[in-house]
Symmetry: C2
């Protein structure tokens, strides 16, 4: 059997969706500021709970200058009521703490877990439903390096190596492939075509290299889509050739027009000259 | 200000902890089998809900030959009661579906969300609390490549590039750094030493390269720890030199012992020879 061998002892790496979800961040120091960046990059609605004297430089900047914190409550954590939001005591969708108070952390953690609210307590791994890793971001591309808490600093070092291995145009390539997929969905919209669409998109992504995919544009996408009808993938060179050919008639039109303008002008000038004489 | 620039539009990449948690996996095809591998690699307790005729080759192998599925319920999904576990209708900690039935998928999703149970519905992104990415595993190291659903196939291509950028000894390096940290915690156990411990560990990880860290062993770890007392990091070459020097006296002892044995034997033989004569 050639199925992948199981390798227990890891975590389940996932991309949590936070767009518009309400997150409570308890704390205002350096670690909390780092968490805030991760949350805002995931489009969360963030409430920060922290006494004013606990705010670090970055958190102050994010709250006062950038104003990216959706709600700032200038109090230290002291009671459970602070863990709900709104007037009706609604639940947050996620709670993160980054404070130097193990007892309060443990209390917040137990409270959240009892309510099935995903919770992370910075620097207290056993209290966490999930850990953070070291992250690379290139537009729609996100890469996380996790050592399951065994080597957070080493994770950062490995992340740097990986950053060098991701070409700068990778984000573009992903955007362009997204556009190609949308365009394909327009010409093949039926749900029963879904498997064929996915299989053809795979073929495209495996035939073209990442740097070639990054060159896809409004002109070349229709040319690639021509392959969809007989389920083939046009070669990159072929598409670029057709793109040039497609430009050529337009270039000829422009040249003809300019020739017309020039000769007309010449005739008018000549006539004017003659009339003048 | 030099704080990182926010880049909205992404997801929150996290390492979810599933050790001993109960997960319901609805479906038995190729996608479900892939999910099972991710779940078992994270030490989850997995229940598979799928009619026998819906089981694919890999899932059959995992259930019957490998026996890594903790509980197999040979029924198709048809009613909400199947979404709870145990005799008292306890909640699962996570629910994943990978079935070709959009209506059932949507129902399972709505049911789970109403109960704050993290849920993923394969191929139906809007129904998901979280997405999966393409994953690299090297012992305790896990790397996830996510395109936020924009290019799952491209993610696989990028993952392959990254795989080549991670040296094979990286898993070893993480394990060894973990051993160094445990040894450090033994000689500096107090909680108030935590910040100093973390800072010194960072220095070690940034002074030694990954391949050098992978060479740490029971002999060299105490030598590196000697630097802790004055908060310095011994150079790799210095530690390897000391390790050789540490071997040398032992080698000398062994040599002296052998010399002793040989000469004693020679004397005895000589005496015996003389007596015999």
């Amino acid at each position: 059997m050639s199925y992948p061998t199981l390798e227990p002892g890891g975590s389940l790496l996932i991309a949590w969706q936070l767009r518009g979800r309400r997150v409570l961040l308890v704390g205002g120091g350096e670690v909390a500021a780092g968490r805030l960046v991760l949350l805002k990059n995931a489009d969360a609605h963030v409430t920060v709970l922290c006494a004013p004297e606990g705010l670090g430089k970055e958190m102050k900047y994010r709250i006062e200058v950038e104003q990216v914190v959706d709600k700032y409550i200038p109090e230290p954590y002291s009671r459970e009521e602070q863990l709900t939001c709104g007037e009706n005591g609604e639940m947050y969708d996620m709670i993160l703490t980054a404070i130097d108070d193990p007892e309060a952390s443990r209390e917040i953690c137990a409270w959240s877990r009892a309510r099935h609210i995903p919770v992370n307590v910075a620097d207290v791994p056993p209290e966490c439903d999930f850990y953070f890793g070291s992250v690379i971001r290139r537009g729609p591309l996100q890469v996380m390096v996790s050592t399951g808490g065994k080597g957070p600093r080493l994770a950062r070092q490995i992340r740097q190596r990986l950053e060098n291995a991701i070409p700068s145009y990778t984000g573009d390539a992903i955007e362009r492939v997204g556009s190609l997929r949308s365009a394909l969905r327009k010409i093949a919209p039926r749900p029963e075509q879904s498997a064929a669409r996915m299989s053809w998109m795979t073929d495209v992504c495996e035939t073209w290299t990442i740097d070639q995919l990054a060159e896809l544009d409004d002109e070349s996408i229709p040319l690639v889509l021509e392959g969809w009808h007989d389920r083939t993938v046009p070669a990159y060179s072929q598409v670029m050739q057709s793109k040039r050919n497609w430009h050529w008639p337009r270039m000829q039109n422009v040249a003809s027009f300019l020739l017309g303008v020039t000769s007309t002008a010449a005739i008018i000038v000549a006539l004017a000259h003659r009339t003048h004489r």
